[in-house]
Amino acid sequence: MRHIISLLLENEAGALARVASLFAARGYNIEALTVAPTEDDSVSRMTIVTCGDERIIEQITKQLNKLIDVIRLLDISESGHIERELMLLKVRAKASERDELKRLTDIFRGRIIDVTSQSYVIEMTGDSAKLDAFLANLAPSQIIEVVRSGPTGILRGERGLHL
């Protein structure tokens, strides 16, 4: 099962390495990881996408909680949550292809943010499945470069993960 674990951790050198080496040492899976400081710059927010059966996910959350740098942690995939990932995509866009690409981008609520005579840069956010779906509509030969941020997420409703 795929899980999204949100962490608040001390914004200190080495904190990221501790999380990464925990996953490596214990043989856990990291599908994606994002991290950045929060409004309080002594704290970072990290989102980890991982997978495993119930027992493994329980151990992952417990072991993460044991790290001294981890302040708080929540498996947001266990409750109603919103998940977003940012994708920047550079595609070949010759004159003959431009209309079709523009229409497709609109359907997926993306934006074209850079244009040359031969290419577009498209910006798109959504859950990971939507980004996958968009990519599935392009021929591999059209794609010059794909940059995906990895998912971040937040709980629905008033409940939040904060200090």
Binding site: L9, E10, G14, Q59, Q63, N65, I68, I71
Partner: protein, 576 residues
């Protein structure tokens, strides 16, 4: 008060009440060594190898419950510590390690004796720090002691670049009385609702079993454990790490469980209907094949580390907290419940246990003309009145101590269980002896293990640590040879060395007393003579039966009740 970084280190250790620091100098810590010079409050013990320092600090910590402290230089000094740090980590031993680092401006430039100490030790410490600002040095040291000694204890390393300890730069010194970390709040009390549920399960048990572990020793809860067990009249077993928390010679004690546990302990585990696990972590040496572990049992698990709970075995009632307050609450709730476990059920359960016990799985040949290692340990137990501090190395000899030296008190049995570090025993014994100079301190070892940290014999002389070394010399890496006999058709691949040193002369060369014992009738007199030499370290080299194996044994892949018993115990009595 303004102090240099080096002075801050020493003053912080004093303010922390540190008695001993085990260390070895080098370039990156010379400022600190200079600050140590000429003061007596913190006694520095100069080891012969940094690994020895970690094991000494570890032995000191296990024997006292205080935090052991280590000091070493950057690069090779730091890397030499790794085995000892990992040893302490696996057994949850409180330790603070201070290492020197190259000066801040050259970190990352492959400077002389630079290594990424924080990176190398990250997976085997509870936490570590790199100090980048001398203004934070005192508080970081305080945090290190706090983290090392609270919650589930463990080693904490503080890496200090040389420029931070510069004697010419002084900053105001303040050592905080306490620190609090927003990200670290270990639990103390157990959840009352969970404890209530546990009492109900305990009172309804028909075939109960208490399985206690190192957490009871670490959490100073031996008397609570004993009170609980006696009040309930339940059978109790212990892991290797928990020995001594419950008196070893008591009728209710079934001996150690696990791979080399007793027949009665492992059978009772297998058949029990309620298992009360207290400060134990369901290690694979205990559970055997997981699918067949305690198949009929509901499990109550008390542990301060939530990650120990349900890691290997599903748990019905988890209780997260320190053993001592949890057991106190549990006992008072049980006593005030007005109920007791059903005495008839208990009586028939005990009757079964006595049957298992009657096969006497630890019997061995007492008429042999060779020295039996078990006999040496029994004699050691008698001569020391069961009250010595006994450390060990790793191998068969370690198991024989666990089986034949009946520890009555906690913190008397000091060994490396989790990592199984050969070389641990003798330096650990030195650390114990420094902590308890008037107590009998014995290191039981093997001719292979003792050679892994032999150089610390020199430290023992310098700091007057007259320990007794009982070398069960079977001319084999016995534990390896046993596995090869059982699972590799006796192909003894490299488990034998044919140039074993003359340990008597080796001990003498280091300034100690050496004795070689070759006949069973010499065993007792030799031990008596050695213990009479109060202020000398005595190395007793017992030439033992080299073919002896450790029984019972749960071989790899087998379930806990499928034990291999000694060939001289007939199995038809097994299930009589």
């Amino acid at each position: 008060m303004d102090l240099s970084g080096a002075e801050i280190v020493v003053q912080a250790l004093k303010d922390e009440g540190v008695e001993f620091i085990f260390g070895y100098p080098g370039g990156a810590v010379l400022h600190i060594y200079d600050a140590l010079f000429g003061q007596e409050d913190v006694k520095h013990v100069l080891v012969r190898h940094e690994q020895g320092a970690t094991h000494m600090a570890d032995g000191y910590a296990r024997a006292t419950g205080k935090t052991g402290v280590v000091l070493a230089t950057s690069g090779p000094g730091a890397t030499n510590l790794v085995t000892g740090i990992a040893t302490a980590y696996m057994d949850s031993i409180p330790m603070v390690i201070l290492t020197g680092q190259v000066p801040t401006p050259v970190i990352g430039s492959d400077a002389f004796q630079e290594c990424d100490t924080v990176g190398i030790t990250r997976p085997c410490v509870k936490h570590n720090f790199l100090v980048k600002d001398r203004g934070e040095l005192a508080e970081t040291i305080k945090k290190a002691f706090y983290i090392a000694s609270t919650g589930r204890p463990g080693p904490v390393l503080v890496d200090i670049p040389k420029d931070i300890t510069d004697p010419n730069v002084k900053v105001p010194y303040h050592y905080p009385d306490s620190v609090s970390l927003r990200s670290y709040k270990p639990k103390v009390k157990g959840n009352p609702r969970q404890i209530k549920k546990a009492t109900e399960m305990i009172l309804s048990a028909r075939r109960p079993m208490i399985y206690s572990g190192g957490g009871v020793v670490l959490g100073e809860a031996a008397s609570e454990l004993t009170e609980l067990t006696r009040w309930l009249n339940f059978p109790i077993t212990s892991t290797l790490m928990g020995l001594g928390a419950y008196p070893g010679s008591d009728r209710q004690f079934l001996g150690m469980l696990g791979m080399h546990g007793t027949y009665e302990a492992n059978m009772a585990m297998h058949e029990c209907d309620v298992l009360i696990a207290i400060g134990a972590r369901f290690d694979d040496r205990v559970t055997g094949k997981l699918d067949e572990f305690c198949p009929y049992a509901k499990v109550i698990h008390i542990d301060v580390d939530p990650a120990s709970i349900a890691k290997n075995v599903p748990v019905d009632i988890p209780i997260v907290g320190q053993v001592k307050p949890v057991l106190t609450d549990l006992i008072s709730l049980l006593k005030s419940s007005g109920h007791q476990p059903n005495p008839e059920d208990l009586e028939s359960w005990w009757a079964r246990i006595e049957q298992w016990r009657s096969i006497e799985c630890l019997r061995y040949d007492r008429k042999s003309t060779l020295i039996k290692p078990q006999y040496v340990i029994e004699q050691l137990w008698e001569i020391t009145g069961g009250d010595a501090y006994v450390t060990s190395d790793v191998g068969q000899h370690q198991m024989w101590v666990a089986q034949y030296y009946h520890f009555e008190k906690p913190r008397r049995w000091i060994n490396s269980g989790g990592l199984g570090t050969m070389g641990f025993g003798m330096p650990a014994a030195v650390g114990v002896k420094l902590a308890h100079p008037d107590a009998d301190v014995v290191c039981v070892t093997g001719e292979a293990s003792i050679q892994m940290c032999i150089q610390e014999l020199s430290t023992a002389l310098q700091y007057k640590a007259p320990i007794k070394i009982v070398n069960l010399n079977n001319r084999y890496m016995g534990m390896v040879r046993q596995w090869q006999e059982f699972t590799y058709e006796s192909r003894y691949s490299h488990s034998y060395m044919d140039t074993i040193p003359d340990f008597v002369r080796l001990a003498e060369a280091y300034g100690h007393v050496g004795m070689r014992i070759e006949k069973p009738e010499e065993v007792r007199p030799a031990l008596e003579e050695a213990f009479a030499l109060k202020d000398r370290l005595v190395f007793l080299d017992f030439i033992t039966d080299r073919t002896e194996n450790v029984y019972p044994m749960v071989e790899a892949g087998k379930a806990q009740h499928q034990m291999r018993l000694p060939p001289w115990i007939s199995t038809d009595r097994e299930l009589a």
